[in-house]
């Protein structure tokens, strides 16, 4: 009995140790919303999918922006290509901060190069949209499909979008 308890404790320690090394994903549940943008308990943008399949505006917008700017390397629906990773996998553990950083500043892994898109308004003005959509995909909240039903585009969003695109 003692041996089993000891082994069990050892296993739990090993497993916890393993998890501590990897990033533990934050619970993506939306706890509040601001102007049509949903936030998780850490205050980072997240998705909201109603029981009838209606998605929040950012998830829908992210689908469109992804398939214009990111699809060309990362494949359809975040599924990856022969050379760029499946973001449905990456976003399982990648934090909001890391995502913003990589998209804005780029990343190089030998001859595998992610461009810096921070100066590209077509991406930079839609970072949250992209993050929310890919987070939804990574959490299986949205399938490999163009979201059919969506919440309306928030007024505050339109203002922010126009202001961001006009600046650049």
């Amino acid at each position: 009995m003692r041996t089993i308890w000891f082994l069990g404790a050892a296993m739990i320690l090993v497993v916890s140790g393993g998890m501590a090394i990897a990033e533990s994903p934050v619970d993506p549940a939306a706890v509040k919303s601001e102007d049509g943008k949903y936030l998780d308990k850490e205050g980072n943008p997240t998705f909201k999918v109603a029981s009838d399949g209606t998605v929040d505006w950012y998830t829908y917008s992210g689908y469109r922006r992804y398939h214009s700017e990111c699809h060309v390397c990362h494949g359809p629906d975040g599924m990856g290509s022969t050379y760029a990773p499946a973001l449905t996998e990456s976003l399982k553990t990648m934090s909001y901060g890391d995502f913003m950083n990589v998209v804005a500043s780029g990343r190089q892994n030998g001859n595998s190069v992610m461009p810096a898109l921070g100066d590209n308004p077509n991406v930079a003005c839609y970072m949250d949209d992209l993050y929310v959509y890919l987070r939804a995909r990574a959490n299986d909240a949205v399938g490999r499909v163009r979201p059919a039903k969506k919440e309306d585009k928030p007024e505050a969003y339109t203002q922010a979008e126009n202001s961001c695109m006009a600046k650049r």
């Binding site: 060309v72 494949g75 359809p76 290509s81 190089q108 190069v113 461009p115 059919a148």
Partner: protein, 600 residues
């Protein structure tokens, strides 16, 4: 005075002779079936070989003779050159070139690897491909990803000269094969998804000095047309033919990129090629016909001046680049011997034109599912003569911004992309690798930043409703505009075809099969699974009395982006990956050359 005149005449004669020598040498070499001396096989881009050791009767016995790893992964487009006992193999980025001695057990005599900034990689829209090197005047010409055109001594690999053809900082990159014509080497440029004002440039073979540069859009002097003598469908194009079809200064970021194949008719000294999509993918942001994007050009090889042009897809709404190869053939049509140009466009129409005058003879769908147009107006007296009639339902312009226009066939990757077809003078048939994919396309407003993608459309692709195969390999009659036979393939056929006098046609599949079919019937005669998906062009040569078939394997290119994860059924509300295969279940990355021959 006489002495000066004689001396001048003498030097002119020498210059001309020098140019003529390079010209004659290459023409002669391209007629030697043992060699494969230019990227498309010959100046006419036929991809046809007179070699007939391998026949429809014996190709079933084909075996792998030798293999070579390129040392590089990602999409391997193009194919090797074979000149005498030397084979020149190229790779995707970093664009290595190997010179192998086929008479000495394929020993690597030299290799060249340019130093390039890896930051050019993300500026390449559709994988880090390269379509192959060119040869002329004892030199190997490589068009690098960073747009550098470099001339290497064919014997030693040493750099003889090097020029920068464009600016990756502004989104320009290099993927196409150069072509040596007389005393010049011609090269195009990529960047249609980055708002580059693209061009074809001719450099002096010996020095690398720029001789002429012709842009695809812009003022008349930049696009090198003569308003009075350059014609489209028999009519002079007139002054400002390009800029008056663009709003304001948009032509400066207009695209019209020239990343496809070049062909050449020495008898009339005309070089033929096509231009790609206008920037952006959002048609509402660039009103006008956007000339001369999506255009077939016939230019004087010495001066660059356009003799005739023909725009296939005015005011493009679907990204149907016009860059595919222009195959030149002399055939009987309507009881007369005609000098023809045949072109399988991304837009799904197979065109046959008179290559001397630019007269349009045939424009027919080479995939029955093509639906964005009901056809080209062939009535010479009609005000819309030569223009395709656009179907409103599939017009993304009509649908407008932020509206998802659905069910357009073909998808943006076209009924055929750069993967070149072959022509056999024996059967007078064209052998065409095709894509069988449709799309939803939603344009939206985007803003231009130099060096950043300037796209502006959301894309979703799937096989035609009710079908599950994504490709066909077809035989086409260019005189009647009809499909003669069609072989279904699970995936798009993304390799270049090869036709031979042995009555065999070869192509490669995305799963990695090298296939041989009967040129007359299309019956499959042989297949072999190479290490990775094939997007390269099948090539043939003879060495030591044996005929060899060579093809690069290494999945990637646009097919590797769009098809890796599998396509989804748009009618399935849950977006399940229906019955459509995912390419990633069939192949992984690779980089190798497989060479086949009959057993000894």
């Amino acid at each position: 005075m006489r002495k000066v005149l004689l001396a001048t005449l003498g030097s002119i004669a020498v210059l001309t002779a020098g140019g003529a020598l390079a010209n004659d040498e290459l023409i002669k070499m391209s007629q030697n079936p043992k060699d494969w001396v230019m990227p498309a096989g010959d100046y006419a881009n036929t991809r046809y070989s007179k070699l007939n050791q391998i026949t429809a009767a014996n190709v079933g016995k084909l075996q792998v003779a030798w293999t070579f790893s390129t040392g590089v992964l990602r999409g391997h487009e193009g194919g090797p050159l074979i000149i005498g006992n030397m084979m020149y193999v190229h790779t995707p980025f970093p664009n290595k070139v190997y010179a192998l001695d086929l008479s000495k057990d394929n020993h690597i005599v030299w290799k060249y690897e340019p130093k390039q900034d890896p930051n050019v990689i993300p500026v390449m829209c559709c994988d880090t491909v390269n379509r192959g090197v060119a040869y002329g005047d004892g030199k190997i010409f490589l068009h690098q990803a960073d747009t550098t055109l470099v001339a290497l001594d064919a014997k030693t690999g040493k750099v003889e000269w090097s020029v920068k053809n464009g600016d990756p900082g502004k989104g320009a990159t290099g993927t196409s094969s150069p072509l040596v014509i007389k005393d010049k080497v011609l090269v195009g440029i990529s960047g249609g998804e980055f708002g580059v004002q693209c061009h074809v440039t001719a450099y002096d073979l010996k020095s690398g000095k720029q001789v002429w540069r012709a842009f695809s859009e812009g003022p008349d002097d930049q696009i090198m047309v003569d308003p009075a003598s350059t014609t489209e469908l028999g009519k002079p194009v007139g002054k400002d033919s390009s800029i008056k079809t663009w709003q304001g200064d948009q032509w400066k970021i207009g695209g019209g990129c020239t990343w496809g194949w070049l062909s050449y008719d020495p008898a009339v000294n005309l070089v033929y090629y096509g231009s790609g999509n206008p920037s952006t993918w959002n048609p509402k942001q660039r009103p006008g016909d956007n000339k001369w994007s999506m255009t077939i050009f016939a230019r004087n090889a010495d001066t660059g001046m356009a003799k005739w042009v023909y725009q296939m897809t005015p005011h493009d709404e679907w990204d149907y680049d016009g860059v595919n190869e222009m195959i030149l053939s002399d055939q009987q049509m309507g009881g007369a011997e005609r000098k023809l140009l045949t072109h399988f466009d991304r837009n799904g129409l197979g065109y046959t034109l008179d290559r001397i005058t630019g007269e349009l003879l045939i424009a027919e769908k080479y995939d029955p599912k093509v639906n964005w147009t009901t056809g080209v107006d062939m009535n010479k007296s009609s005000p819309t003569y030569g223009r395709p009639k656009v179907v409103d339902q599939y017009s993304t312009e009509k649908g407008g911004e932020d509206k998802n226009t659905k069910g357009i066939c073909p998808a943006a990757l076209g009924t055929k992309d750069e993967q070149p077809a072959a022509y056999s003078p024996d059967t007078q048939l064209f052998y065409v690798p095709t894509n069988h994919v449709c799309m939803d396309y939603e344009p939206f407003k985007v803003s231009y930043t130099a060096g950043q993608p300037y796209v502006g459309a959301t894309l979703s692709m799937y096989p035609p409703p009710g079908e599950s195969h994504m490709g066909n390999f077809i035989a086409w009659d260019n005189k009647t505009g009809k499909i003669v036979w069609s072989n279904k393939e699970q995936f798009s056929v993304w390799s270049g075809a090869l036709a031979t006098a042995g009555g065999v046609v070869f192509y490669g599949t995305l799963e990695g099969y090298l296939k041989a079919v009967d040129a007359k019937t299309g019956k499959e005669l042989y297949k072999f699974r190479t290490p990775s998906g094939i997007i390269g062009n099948v090539t043939t040569y003879e060495q030591g009395g044996r005929q060899y078939i060579a093809v690069l394997s290494g999945v990637g290119g646009w097919a590797g982006i769009g098809l890796a994860a599998g396509l989804t059924d748009p009618t399935d509300g849950l977006g399940a990956v229906g019955g459509y295969a995912a390419l990633s279940n069939y192949t992984a990355l690779g980089g190798s050359l497989t060479v086949f021959a009959l057993p000894q």
